[in-house]
Every structure is written in C-alpha cells, then in structure tokens.
C-alpha cells in the first residue's frame, strides 16, 4: 500500500481513541471491587478497627494511598512522550525518603535485635503474600490503561505502575493487619509493595510495547 493512500485512510478515521484517564476511570473501580470482594472473603476487617483508626495506625492506610497517588501520577506522565515528569518524580522521591528516614530512626531506637524481633512473627509472611495478591487486580488495571498511551520506557513505567498498585493494595490489607509497630510495618509493607513493583517491571516491556 502506498504511503499517501495510508495517510488518506488514517485521515478518514476520525473516531477518538480512549485516553489513559478514560480507561483508568473504567478499570480502577473494577479492580477495587475485585480487591474488596476478595478481601472480605479471605481476609476480613481487624476486630479493633475503630480503635486503630483513632490511633497512629491510621497512617498504615493513609501513607500507602498517598504512595499510590504519587506513583500513579508519575506512571501517567511516563505514558506521554515529551511530558516532563520531573516534579512528580521529585515529590515521589521526597515521600520515599521520608519513609526511609522514619525507618532508620526507629531502627536506631530499637536496634537490629528489635527489628529481628518485630519481624519474627507469622504476620510477616501473611503480609508479604497478601499485599502482592491484592495488588494484582490494580496492577492489571493500571497496565491496561497505560497500554493505550505511548510508553517509551516500559520497564520503568511498569515498575512505577507496580508501586502504585502495591500502595493501593497495602492500604486495603491494612484494614486486616493488626500489627502496628513501625519496625514491622515499614519494612514488611515496603518489601511487599516493592515486590509488586518488581512484578510490574517484569510485565511492563511485554504489556506496554507499541
């Protein structure tokens, strides 16, 4: 087919392509519904939720949601060529740095033995498997939405999408998890969320190619 003919055919197609935001509006509620249904069926809300929400433990829900929002904003920017994501990256980096600093602060207070003790509970494995499991629907929704965009760096975009998905699922898992010690929550949730980011980085190049 002649190139000019192709141009004529392309010009005749005036239907709009669904954008990333449009797809997110469709897919995120579905992912959330799947996730909440699974959560209610297999996990369930912790019995002392009321008391937890009134304490510092509420940060276990707020911080992951914030992370999901910040990482999501970076991911959307990555799906638009020439869009400068600099400021969004900076905010995400500052956020991560604050979390790491908080962890280091608690580590110095509790010591290495305190960390080992905090992590030597069965909740650790529940957390490390539950967050990724709950994160899969979100990861699928975000990657599917990004795939309509034009991602130039699919591995990076996949990883950031995984970060967002992990944040969302960690916030939901926090309604079940009754371990509130900072020395447990920061490393356990952090590792779990990063494992979702790893999954995103692995899927990214395959799903986001165009």
């Amino acid at each position: 087919m002649n190139t000019d003919d192709l141009i004529a055919a392309l010009a005749a197609d005036t239907l709009p392509q669904p954008g990333i935001a449009q797809r997110l509006v469709w897919s995120l509620p579905v992912a959330l519904a799947v996730c909440v249904a699974a959560f209610v069926a297999f996990w369930g809300v912790r019995p002392d939720l009321g008391a937890a929400l009134a304490s510092l433990a509420v940060l276990k829900m707020i911080l992951p949601v914030l992370l999901a929002g910040l990482a999501g904003a970076v991911a959307i920017a990555l799906a638009h060529p020439v869009e400068m994501a600099g400021r969004r990256w900076a905010v995400l980096a500052v956020f991560a740095a604050v979390l790491v600093a908080t962890f280091v602060f608690h580590l110095q207070r509790g010591g290495l033995s305190g960390l080992v003790e905090a992590l030597s509970i069965s909740s650790l494995w529940v957390c490390l498997t539950s967050v990724p499991a709950l994160g899969l629907p979100f990861l699928a929704a975000i990657l599917w939405s990004l795939s309509t965009g034009a991602v130039l760096r699919p591995r990076l975009a996949g990883a950031v999408a995984g970060l967002a998905a992990g944040g969302a699922s960690a916030a939901i898992y926090a309604f079940y998890c009754d371990q509130d010690a900072a020395l447990f929550v920061l490393p356990a949730y952090g590792t779990a969320i990063l494992s979702v980011a790893l999954a995103g980085a692995i899927c990214g190049p395959r799903v986001l190619r165009w």
């Binding site: 392309l10 239907l15 669904p18």
Partner: protein, 148 residues
C-alpha cells in the same frame, strides 16, 4: 517525516524506510491522544518516530543510539528516489479480514468518503467509521507482532 526516517534509518535501505515511515504514521495516528494540545508538536512527533526507528533496528538485530538533537539536521538530508510503496503494509492488509481490508483500501487507494463506502457495502456510515477505526487499530497491533 519521510526525511526524518531516512536520515535516521539510512542503514535500513530504501524500502524498509518506507515501511518504517508507515509504522510511524500509524503510531502517530493511534497514539495521537498522548499529545497534549498545549504541548509543542514537533518533539512529540520526533519521540514517536525515534521509538519506531529504534524498533525497526532492533527487529533487524542491530542496536543504535539516537539523540533527539540529531533530528535537527533531518531537513537537510539528501533525498534519494523514493518508491512510495510499503511492502509490509500490503502483507498486513492481507492478514486483515477481507471486508476490513477493503474498507481501508477504499479510503486509501480509491479516495472514497464514508458515504461512498457505506453505500457500496450496504452499511450505515457509523458502522463504516467504526470498522475503519478497528481495522487501523488491528493493523497497528499486527505490525507490532510482525516486528517482534
């Protein structure tokens, strides 16, 4: 765009350049919503073109590095004779279902309007528009698989 592709993808040979150019045009079309109207158009076009040229080299098992600045010289590049036919696109059209391929050809080769195609195939104009849209998207997807 042809000159940009030729300047950057010179090692691909004349015919391949035309194939890559058609890839680029298809990508510009299917990804046009990722250009924000308040953003400058040129860098966006170059980013899409670069992505597709790199893809083409990768498909041929070679690696290249392209700097966006290089495209600035693109307009001065010598223009050889260009056979405007893309061979790959013809193969792809063959892989489409015949009716979809016919609609794309109708618009492209014969310069039909939506109303012409609708009358010829006994479809509504809306259905023709949707069929064309789907056909082009399928083309883009098939093309991707071909490069893999």
């Amino acid at each position: 765009m042809r000159r940009v592709v030729q300047a950057r993808g010179g090692g691909l040979g004349q015919d391949s350049c035309e194939d890559v150019l058609q890839d680029v045009l298809l990508a510009i079309h299917t990804k046009r919503h990722t250009w924000r109207q308040d953003a400058p158009l040129r860098p966006w076009l170059y980013a899409i073109a670069r992505h597709k040229v790199v893809d083409a080299f990768r498909a041929r098992g070679r690696r290249i590095e392209l700097a966006i600045d290089d495209f600035a010289d693109a307009l001065a590049a010598p223009q050889g004779p260009d056979p405007l036919d893309g061979r790959d696109m013809e193969k792809l059209l063959g892989a489409l279902d015949p009716r979809a391929a016919d609609i794309v050809r109708g618009f492209g080769l014969r310069g039909e309007t939506t109303a012409d195609t609708a009358a010829r195939l006994g479809m509504t104009e809306g259905a023709v528009r949707v069929a064309l849209h789907r056909a082009l998207r399928t083309l883009a997807r098939l093309r991707e698989r071909m490069i893999e």
